[in-house]
């Protein structure tokens, strides 16, 4: 935040303390959000199936996730006899570290981002491409058939969909001409017609919406595949692999895996909001916030980011509830033969538009 920069200009220790404080606050809020996100996910899933969903713990079952948390924490930690113990316990730690670390580069409100790196989008891409290691290591270290099969599936799946996500991200970079996430959000200011999903430049770039809307859809679907969400949850397909890479995990390590998966879903939704739906920008021009206090403007921006992310999370939950699981060869075909060529053509079109139009 700008005011942090002004206070801590020549005091590295103060700077460190403030940044560390931000990280702690964001992590705690994130964990709380994930808890309620799991609750919401289950409620939507239940609603589609005309069930009630969690409704016992707390009012409307709101505290269900915390009850689950307590249950996981007090259970005994079991490491299988033939397992590679260090790698087995390292895997969930890596997963959850990467999942939480990605949030450093997400711009939360006007001028508020923990780490304003000028290659922020690449940082996110790099961190999410490392997420596969948690699953592979866990599956291998379990020394058991189902987890290993799940790990191999997830490795192939995540690497494949990363390629199309990469190309979709390139189209967004080309639109804004910057790899810094705060800059990408800034450029989408002034109303929903400036959002990247509609071409990212008002009426002049509106024809690009024909390219960018499909790119948004590809990003959403690839995000589902990247986070192993249904209909792409083959690494943990319960009808074939029991629980995939997580079969041998229980207690806190499983909780960490679950937390990592859920916060990755949250991250993908947030990233979709930032890249395509204008991040913290309101969907209408907001000249009136100029006279507001900085904290009010920040909260106003944060509110829009939360709303957009919640909307995409809702779509996520609906997809999980209504779409049946893909077959593995169809999954690979979709990634390599449909999304990749489409995204490649889109990169060429957007680049051409940027140069000649």
């Amino acid at each position: 935040m700008p005011w942090i920069a002004s206070i801590t200009r020549d005091n590295p220790i103060l700077w460190f303390a403030l940044t560390f404080g931000q990280i702690v606050v964001i992590t705690i809020v994130l964990l709380l959000v994930v808890a309620f996100m799991i609750y919401g996910d289950r409620k939507v899933f239940a609603g589609v199936q005309m069930r009630k969903g969690p409704n016992v713990v707390g009012p409307f079952g709101l505290l269900q996730s915390f009850a689950d948390l307590g249950k996981f924490l007090v259970k005994e930690l079991v490491v299988p006899a033939g397992a590679d113990k260090i790698v087995f316990l390292l895997a969930p730690l890596i997963s959850v570290t990467l999942a939480l670390g990605s949030w450093a580069a997400i711009p939360l409100a006007p001028g508020w981002v923990v780490a304003d790196i000028n290659v922020g989008i690449l940082y996110l891409f790099a961190v999410s491409s490392m997420g596969v290691y948690g699953i592979i290591m866990g599956g291998w270290a379990s020394n058991s058939k189902y987890p290993f099969l799940g790990a191999l599936r997830s490795a192939a799946q995540m690497v494949s969909y990363e390629v199309s996500i990469g190309f979709v991200i390139i189209t967004v970079i080309l639109l804004g001409g910057s790899m810094s996430l705060p800059r990408i959000v800034e450029l989408q200011a002034g109303g929903f017609w400036n959002w990247n999903i509609l071409g990212g430049g008002g009426l002049k770039n509106l024809p690009l919406a024909l390219v960018m809307i499909p790119m948004g859809v590809i990003f959403f679907i690839s995000g589902l595949a990247e986070t192993n969400r249904p209909p792409f949850d083959l690494p943990e397909a319960e009808s074939e692999l029991v629980a995939g890479y997580a079969v041998e995990y229980g207690s806190t390590p499983y909780l960490l895996f679950y937390l990592a998966e859920m916060s990755n879903i949250l991250l993908m939704s947030g990233l979709m909001a930032v890249l395509f739906l204008g991040g913290w920008q309101a969907p209408f021009p907001t000249p009136f916030t100029a006279s507001w206090a900085p904290w009010a403007a920040s909260l106003f921006g944060l509110m829009w980011l939360v709303l957009k992310t919640a909307f995409i999370l809702f779509m996520n939950a609906m997809v999980r509830a209504v779409v049946p699981r893909y077959r593995y060869d169809q999954l690979m075909r979709l990634g390599w033969k449909v999304f990749l060529p489409t995204a490649l053509v889109a990169v060429a079109i957007v680049a051409g538009w940027r140069v000649y139009a």
Binding site: V119, A126, I136, F148, A155, V159, D329
Partner: protein, 209 residues
Amino acid sequence: MALQAIAFYLMAAVTLGSGIAVVSAKNPVHSVLFLISAFFSAAGLFVLLGAEFLAMLLVVVYVGAVAVLFLFVVMMLDVDFAQLRQGFARYMPLGGAIAGGLAIEMVLVSTAVATNGAARLNDTPMAAGAHAPLGVTNAEAIGRVLYTNYVYFFQAAGLVLLVAMIGAIVLTLRHKPGVRRQVIMDQVLRTPKTGMRMVSPKQGEGTDA
């Protein structure tokens, strides 16, 4: 500055330690995991140098893609550890010679950069330790050099990769006769009319369909 020095020595130590562990680890999967750790801390060193674009690319390409495939293959291999150990003494001199050659090369390059300055851009040597001009991001600076001075080398590298890719496809693509392939178009275009035939067999006769 002290913080940077601590970070440098920490990451350099991790890089070197993981590098040694890669060749000395008994389990090949552990070797690959150490290799990943080496890549990752090397990326950290790039960040310290102010080359964050290269650092991210190192992580995306090597950690995120290449090493995943390594791990994928190594995990599925059935490795005989005793056999692996046998060749150690025989390959040691050759490996040592290559390592020594690379070390000498690195020392020569470092001294050359330290005395004569870094890369030449437009035939004007940049001063030693000079950074890209202010206001130009890392990616932009690399792009400017890559697409102007070195565009032919860049394109040649791209061509080499393309040839390698086509080669890999040609080597593995086999159309065996007698294998039934899934034709997605046919499946998608199938309607109740084309996929279903109504028959009304007489009682006790059955149907061939």
